[in-house]
């Protein structure tokens, strides 16, 4: 097959120097039939399934902001740029990138997008797929593909950018990302409400917040054990954390509404930093999600027996559970108690992957998509649990 250099003349058609460099590495690997492990900041290397690779492609050095127009609330950065760096640059303009994935702040933008990792703020401010406007990737064919663009609304062509989000690098190594930003709110305040024991306590509170006149940026259930870890404990019980953002009056009024829902105490913003970094270094971590209306049911299945580090997104119906590596099998037991859930493994011991989180890319369409971008399976092979060819 011949590789044709891009011929288009428009804004989206050029190839960055960074991408050209990565392209050469991928082409060489493909020619030599070598598989590549793509590495960003290296902070989440133990996440995902084991990769069968012959070489590493380090993208950490591909760092820096390519274009930032505060008036447009858009930013383009190389994939190796850390979230901490983006936080600094955007804070200077009173803006932020509202992605708060779990793990270290030196995690990279590229890895965040590749793994579709978002945190508590995704409730009010969107998941990765809502925030990413465009990406540049080097495919397993050694071609540079720019998908999406730098504007906030775009339906030109098939939306290849969506495919790259959450593909864990198996369709292409991400070299550049364009995201939409938000202005930082005037007031940003977090409140914890104690949850009464038992299934009725959770259901009652969930029902109340569903109809209450509040519009939180984040709304999380936190198990008793987790609350203790992050310093959000209220009377030794599980809590609901409510993050209110907006102007003074809007936040003040919502704080009043929240006070009517239960024993509410103000907690510092540190709880969110603590929550993002709560899991022990070797922990096994898994997420399970159901329709939002069934959250009470799966939360009770996960935490009813106590003793588990867990938190959950109210509004999207996702529970995140963690256990020490030695106790990881317990996660399988808990997941087994939850009917009809989607399971996503973040970090698991080898033998538990197929039991808890069987591969979701062995269907005909997913195999076809992989073939379209990486026919020789040289990018992160094995990370999605895909069958060997």
């Amino acid at each position: 097959m011949t590789l044709t250099p891009p011929t288009g003349a428009g804004a989206g058609a050029g190839v960055s120097a960074a991408a050209a460099e990565v392209r050469d590495v991928v082409r060489e690997a493909r020619a030599g039939e070598r598989a590549i492990r793509i590495v960003g900041g290296g902070t989440w290397l133990d996440a995902g399934r084991p990769v069968r690779a012959d070489a590493r492609l380090e993208l950490k050095a591909l760092a820096g902001i390519v274009e930032y127009v505060p008036g447009d609330l858009t930013l383009t950065a190389l994939a190796g740029t850390t979230l901490a760096e983006l936080e600094r640059a955007t804070a200077a303009e009173g803006q932020w990138l509202p992605l708060d994935p779990f793990g270290s702040p030196v995690g990279t933008l590229g890895a965040t997008v590749a793994t579709a990792s978002s945190g508590p703020l995704s409730l009010g401010l969107g998941v990765v797929r809502d925030v990413v406007l465009g990406v540049e990737v080097v495919t397993g064919r050694g071609e540079v593909v720019r998908a999406g663009g730098r504007v906030v609304k775009n339906v030109a062509g098939f939306d290849l950018a969506r495919l790259m989000i959450g593909a864990w690098g198996t369709l292409g190594a991400i070299t550049e990302v364009t995201v939409r930003l938000r202005a930082r709110p005037d007031v940003d305040r977090t409140v914890a409400i104690a949850i009464r024991e038992g299934a009725a306590g959770v259901e009652g509170l969930l029902q109340a917040v569903r109809t209450a006149p509040i519009a939180p940026a984040a709304l999380q259930l936190v198990s008793r054990e987790m609350a203790r870890h992050i310093g959000a404990e209220a009377n030794g019980s599980a809590v609901m954390l409510i993050r209110l953002c907006g102007n003074e009056e809007a936040v003040g009024s919502q704080r009043g509404v929240v006070a009517g829902l239960g024993d509410a105490i103000d907690v510092g913003q540190d709880v969110w930093r603590a929550l993002r970094a709560v899991e022990p270094a070797d922990a096994a971590v898994v997420r399970a999600s159901a329709e939002a209306g069934r959250l009470g049911e799966i939360w009770h299945a996960a935490t009813g027996a106590g003793g588990v580090l867990a938190h959950a997104w109210v509004g999207t119906g996702t529970v995140r559970l963690m256990e020490s590596a030695q106790q990881a099998a317990r996660l399988a037991e808990l997941i087994g108690r939850m009917p009809r859930v989607n399971v996503i493994g973040e970090r698991l011991p080898g033998e538990l992957w197929s039991r808890i989180a069987p591969s979701m890319v062995d269907d005909r369409l997913s195999r076809g998509v992989r073939e379209a971008f990486d026919p020789d399976r040289i990018l992160n092979p094995g990370i999605l649990g895909e069958a060997n060819r």
Partner: protein, 483 residues
Amino acid sequence: MRIDPALAGRLAEIVGDRWVLRRHAQLLVYSADGLPGYRKVPALGVLPGTRDETIAVIRLLAEYGIPFVPRGAGTGLSGGALAEDAVLVGLHRLKRIIAIDPDSRLAIVEPGVVNVALTRAAATYGLHYAPDPSSQAACTIGGNVAENAGGPHCLKYGVTLNHVVAVTALLPDGSLVELGSAAGEREGYDLLGVFVGSEGCFGIALDITVRLSRDPQAVRTLLADFTSLDAAARATSAIVATGIVPAALEMMDGATIRAVEASIYAAGYPADAAAVLLIELDGLEAGLEADVRTVERLCRDAGARGVRTARDEAERTRLWQGRKKAFGAMGRISPHLVVQDAVVPRTRLPDVLARIHEIGERHRVRICNVFHAGDGNLHPNIGYDATDPGETERVHLAMGEIMNACIDAGGTITGEHGVGLDKLEYMDRIFSADALAAMCRVREVFDPDRRSNPGKVVPVHSCREWRMTPAARSAGMVTAGGA
């Protein structure tokens, strides 16, 4: 195209004779969509009435290897629903709202459900379906999924993609696949994300699970009146930069205002204004007034002559009616109307609008601008007479220059209308050959024979690994999806 005469009979066995369109006069009804100047008469039309009939129809077409074009209400503006040498499959009879789950805020609908009908059905729960294209009284959710449709309120609430959680897709070979999940996030490739907006080239969305949104507690609608387009554009940038996210932030220029005010949709816009901004703020009652005051101040600082807030629901409806019916009002003035669609970075609005004005003057065409300013999503529209070849040529030249100006400003060629047939010629300008080839390959994953809506979205010469499709061989021709 040669169609096996037995096919129409076999389709009639599935859907009933009256739902198979064979006669030229019947087919003419389906020979155009919202894009003027293009007319393609389908080879045959079939209008299934149930999910099972639709599956049987697509399986039969697969058996015959015949290309087809799925169609909703035909309100699209890019020629995407035109069927040439293909069977038109109309889906507007599939209009059941299958379920509404108010606790999970989800609804399951068939593809022919009209956009606004879902919002009406959800109203009893205090919920609504957020994407609201101007054609929402007629367009279907299936069509919205195909086009990844937007609308004025997408500034705050997002486009169709952000509201669709699962689709049962009927692939062109007649197989059914579940894309996405109503149970929230799942691992694996975002096949749903690439299906939404695939303009009917990947198959048919047979049932669609969408997210419903809570009705806002309070709404304020403001009208700001400007003596220059530039001042209105600067006010837009200033509002976006404060961090207040209006539910909608729409701009109409003088020509549009006068067309609206001369029509039955007259909304009370100031007839001598060079531009107005229609700004809607919604959310919780508390704190909303403070945002209204901030927006008012920013408009005045940018040079607004006046800013008024709708006093009641009737006035609010009237202000919106003028905006939503602006295209219709323009249609009164000229026999044909091109509704253009492009996006530029918001900070580039003032200079791009100036450039559009200059292009219009030079080509002696009458451009009206009515658009989603908050998103930078322009709709420069040109009213003309398509039977006048000279004027048609000038319109075409002007549109080409406008698209190029938007691309040069760092923008894109379509924000919500899709590529269809109309924008094919610009795809090379914004995507590299490698990117276009990748799109061709992804399309072939869903539709290896390229029989579903052939010839749309990606220019055929971009599909490097072209091969004669079985469909083309059996029909003794090269399909539009081929070389």
